[in-house]
Symmetry: C3
Subunit: 146 residues, 3 copies
């Protein structure tokens, strides 16, 4: 059993912008030589989330945002905003419910996901950010060739 | 430390039908001889979910469906549906928010869950499917007897 | 690779009271001498949840409760309540959607979380409870000094 911890860094636009990070996670598994195990994927911060989604424009640019707007609308006078002179109360609520930790299993070095199932990072904050996603791999590696 | 990856396959009816898979997960732990570790349980696909629930008819057949219908109703004209000539936009949204990865710890070969807490697979799609759930076990095993 | 399973026990007030358990998880990692790995944090029961949240009073005492009240209100005549003479149907629905398993990675014995990101246990039930949260640590430990 091996373990290694990696960081993905990128710039985000906020307002429930959704990023497909499946290829980055898959690439780490291959680069590190893992065979069977799990990839833990973690959003660092309390205004972002990690889950899986079919990454197609109708869902990504409209339907997902409409759903979140329904139960935790931007622009609502949250107590959080009043207390801190902030405007991202909605982002905290969306993060809590979406979750910030996700795992995917892999076998023979390939993530086990559905055909239309991508690992997504969602930035719920109300301003551009530099974000970090931690990827922690645990599992067996290829045997060294003698 | 040992690791093994297994697949549960079953036919589902869709429309937020809920399946209790606790016994299948528990049986794998015992069959494989694990003692202490975690069971990762993963829905393969972007229109299903995994979580825990008290598996009783009132919740399973009515209350849970009413909750999901409130925030991501079937039959709504989602952009996803318009783009793809599909009708399962609601299923994608429900999956995103419910989550597709779940873990349960086990000790002495027994899952640590509450008395009324079952591991459930939920099929949110709008048609019958053949579904796969991946169960990945990591942990210690019984010592071989000398 | 090492693994160990621990239990946090505490008394809760219910009604979506939120508890910051970050320090308890961090303390276990240090006491056990872990260096790199993951902390699995599991709510035992079907009327509680685990996630991350900025632990500040505006969110904790008002905004989070208002969000949950919007999509799974206490006091609603759930079928669960009618069947069992119970009043906690809302608690089951909130638990299902929030999730009961959460993981955080750690490196050099320190949890990798955002500055304002705390691990929270939420008791959704409608009465005081004695609750258990299981923390399972997996990873490498400090080398024993020769």
């Amino acid at each position: 059993m091996h373990i290694s911890t990696h960081t993905l860094s990128f710039s985000t636009g906020g307002h429930t912008q959704i990023y497909d990070i499946t290829e980055e996670v898959q690439a780490l598994i291959e680069q590190q030589g893992y065979m069977e195990g799990q990839a833990g994927v973690y959003a660092i911060g309390s205004t972002a989330g990690i889950s899986t989604l079919e990454y197609e424009p109708g869902l990504v640019k409209q339907d997902v945002r409409a759903m979140y707007q329904h139960f935790a609308p931007y622009g609502h006078p949250y107590r959080h905003n009043q207390t801190w002179g902030d405007d991202n109360g909605a982002a905290h609520l969306r993060s809590l419910l979406t979750g910030t930790s996700f795992h995917a299993p892999f076998v023979q070095g390939r993530l086990l996901l559905g055909t239309w199932q991508q690992i997504v990072f969602i930035d719920f904050d109300t301003r551009p950010r530099n974000r970090r996603v931690v990827v922690q791999l645990m599992g067996s590696k290829k045997e060294a060739q003698g």
